[in-house]
């Protein structure tokens, strides 16, 4: 399933350059236009266009019954989205910031994730929950968290996170047409990053991981905004004579292990990087599984570089908390030292 560096191939006419947030906006617009039972719901997504302007213009275009400014209650948003799905809709909920998803946690975990199973497949629950997540924006508490592990651990959910505008454009549409509940994590640090979007065809299926840089010595894996940091680290490592392969997970649940295992079998060394705290995290899962499945290929243990096991600190310390290229390189060096 892996394809190298989709975004850097020669650009056909269908290719437009746009920022990440605009790419989601365009993807949402396409989904709203394609199916009149797609609807968006959330806080401030109407006239304001969302606090990150991701839904800008959509209420004006599709009306207040397709793009809903709901009452201020996250359990209510997800709980009514479930009821709307029962009535034949495909709701796309926006949670304003990562840290505000927890009031909806019961509806997500005990209802949304389990309802297909509880109904023994009699009806699908095509609900997408969009969550801007992660740090790097210098914001106050609850606005910079990475809650993916909670959702990854919950059977019945799918969890994805695009890291480029092109993926953002396609993955949001694929998430909306999927019949399963999907937690759609948008790395808010990337909202303003521009990139080419090829509106003619998707590059990869929703749940595929992707090799974004080829290398031979160490495999670097991560998701969301961390992919950029991994690429920076790989560039720095190259200067020091180390060749890093970089893989963007794209899908956090399920994980497409094929490209990762292929890579590790060649390099023998791997580092997983994530903004989330490391204890019982997605990085733990990937490390444990890769070590299990590629045991004899490994020259060193899979190392993890994570946010510390502290609450996300005040903004002035976020640079200390969040793994940067140097911290990734430190792990690369440790891996190489085995």
């Amino acid at each position: 399933m892996s394809v190298v560096d989709q975004e850097t191939s020669a650009a056909p006419a269908s290719v437009v350059t746009m920022p990440f947030a605009k790419a989601i906006n365009a993807g949402l617009r396409a989904a709203l236009a394609a199916d009149d039972h797609v609807l968006l719901m959330g806080e401030d997504i109407g006239p304001l266009g969302g606090v990150f302007r991701v839904t800008e213009g959509l209420q004006a275009e599709f009306g207040a019954e397709r793009v809903l400014d709901t009452p201020l209650a996250e359990s209510g948003i997800v709980g009514t989205a479930i009821g709307l799905a029962m009535a034949g809709f495909r709701p796309v909920c926006e949670i304003q910031f990562d840290g505000f998803v927890f009031p909806a946690f019961d509806q997500i975990t005990s209802q949304l994730a389990k309802l297909t199973n509880r109904h023994e497949g009699a009806l699908p629950f095509p609900v997408v929950i969009r969550i801007p997540y992660g740090g790097h924006i210098g914001a106050v508490e609850h606005h910079q968290e990475s809650p993916e592990a909670y959702f990854a651990h919950t059977p019945g959910l799918r969890v994805v996170s695009p890291s480029t505008p092109n993926d953002a454009y396609w993955m949001i549409q694929d998430a909306i047409t999927s019949n399963d509940p999907i937690i759609f994590l948008e790395p808010k640090a990337k909202y303003w990053m521009k990139g080419e979007v090829d509106t003619s065809a998707r590059a990869l299926p929703l749940h595929a991981s992707r090799v974004v840089r080829r290398g031979t010595d160490v495999t670097l894996v991560g998701h969301g905004a961390m992919v950029t940091t991994l690429l920076q680290a790989a560039a720095l490592a190259e200067g020091e004579g180390t060749s890093c392969e970089v893989i963007d997970l794209r899908s956090i649940s399920p994980i497409d292990y094929g490209p990762i295992l292929d890579s590790v079998r060649r390099t023998g060394r791997m580092v997983y990087a994530q903004e989330a705290s490391g204890f019982t995290s997605v990085g733990s899962e990937v490390a444990a599984t890769v070590m299990e499945k590629a045991f004899f290929a490994l020259e060193a243990p899979v190392l993890r570089v994570s946010g510390f096991d502290t609450p996300f600190p005040p903004a002035k310390l976020e640079g200390l908390f969040l793994p940067d290229a140097d911290r990734i390189l430190e792990a690369v060096d440790r891996a190489l030292a085995y």
């Binding site: 209650a73 359990s75 209510g76 009535a87 209802q111 497949g121």
Partner: protein, 376 residues
């Protein structure tokens, strides 16, 4: 312990079955007058039949056939009245004790049995017409009130309601208990339903207990009064009076379907049995209280009323026979229930293929195959 009845309480039949409408009941009398004898008899038969089923299920649990049984014993009038008030196109969102509601709408009682036996987490397909738009049970208290509100929003957006045609316009009713009323989700459901004018009736069965906790712990004030704060009309009804329950629910559903927005009903009733078969009510309530409610039994009340209206001994005997046959049938079919296909575990976690599930399903098959002659 119990907050006092509101002076506006709607009751038509006194506890002894005499026709004695309260002032609050006046406006509902035409609806009750309009009921044919056969309908009154149906109400009665519903209650008796489902009580027999409920007793049978309790016995089946004692015999080890079920993991658990939450009896509906005592709440028959609230459930029959409200469910019979719903039109065919209406949608019903039960909590987990609405056996009467479900079976009236067409759900096969064996499907509820299967749930309580540990054979399924659901039991029936709510989109199958034979189940009368009855959703499956929800065990996390209060959650279903939000699902109902969302469904109601969908009815509004799709213009399936409030077109002016009561024969087609859809409405819905969601059931929850006095204990559940404390959950934040119930509040949020009222906020959303009111905001989007969902054609939704919040039907609270106040059976006075949440397991061992009296309703006075949840509220010092009658629960139906909560609705006003959302701009929702609400009413308190004697939930042991099937006629009053029917009339207030029918009115509320028809007002909601006509575009009047959500409505709330608090039906005062009593859980005459244990919370579930695992419960021991003697730990927390007095036999005095239980006896006082036994004197307000919903079936006895309707029995007396029908008797006074001239229903025959044959009618009552026929109902008893029907009930016994119904319960027997449940017992026989329960005993015949087979084992569970493991695909119930793997098959529907997702609607679309999922590699981890596939891998684990395969692993399990290989693993079991590795035991020659099967696993012990």
């Amino acid at each position: 312990m119990t907050p006092p009845d509101d002076p506006a309480l709607v009751r038509v039949l006194a506890a002894d079955g005499t026709f004695a409408p309260t002032p609050g009941a006046e406006r509902y009398l035409p609806l009750i007058d309009a009921l044919a004898d056969s309908e009154l008899e149906t109400f009665y038969r519903d209650m008796v039949v489902v009580r027999a089923f409920d007793r049978q299920a309790t016995n089946l649990q004692r015999q080890g056939q079920l993991a658990l049984w939450p009896p509906s014993f005592g709440q028959e009038a609230a459930q029959v009245g409200s469910a019979r008030a719903a039109r065919p196109q209406d949608h019903l969102f039960p909590s987990y004790r609405e056996h009467v509601v479900c079976t009236i709408r067409g759900v096969d009682p064996i499907d509820i049995i299967r749930l309580m036996r540990g054979l399924t987490h659901g039991g029936w397909d709510p989109t199958d017409p034979k189940n009368g738009n009855t959703r499956i049970y929800t065990l996390v208290l209060g959650s279903q009130t939000l699902h109902a509100a969302g469904f109601g929003m969908g009815l509004v957006f799709d213009k399936r309601t409030a077109t002016g045609d009561p024969e087609k316009d859809e409405a819905l009713i969601v059931y929850y208990g006095d204990g559940s009323s404390s959950q934040g989700d119930v509040h949020e459901a009222m906020v959303f339903a009111a905001s989007y004018r969902a054609p939704q009736v919040f039907f609270l069965q106040n059976n006075h207990w949440a397991i061992s906790v009296p309703v006075s712990t949840q509220s010092r004030t009658p629960l139906f009064q909560r609705a006003a704060g959302y701009g929702m009309p609400s009413i308190q009804v004697d939930g042991n009076d099937v006629l009053a329950s029917y009339a207030v629910t029918k009115t509320a559903l028809d007002e909601a379907r006509a575009g009047g927005g959500p409505r709330a009903i608090e039906a005062l009733t009593y859980r005459m049995g244990a919370h579930t078969t695992s419960d021991d009510p003697t730990k927390y309530r007095t036999s005095d209280e239980e006896e006082s409610w036994a004197r307000r039994d919903p079936i006895a009340r309707m029995h007396a009323y029908l008797r006074a209206r001239g229903a025959s001994d044959e009618f009552f005997a026929g109902v008893e026979e029907d009930a016994a046959a119904y319960a027997d049938d449940v017992r026989i079919r329960t005993n015949a229930l087979g084992d569970l296909d493991r695909e119930v575990m793997f098959g529907h976690v997702y609607s679309e293929p999922h590699p981890l599930i596939d891998e684990q399903r395969r692993w399990l098959a290989d693993y079991e195959a590795s035991f020659e002659g099967g696993k012990a």
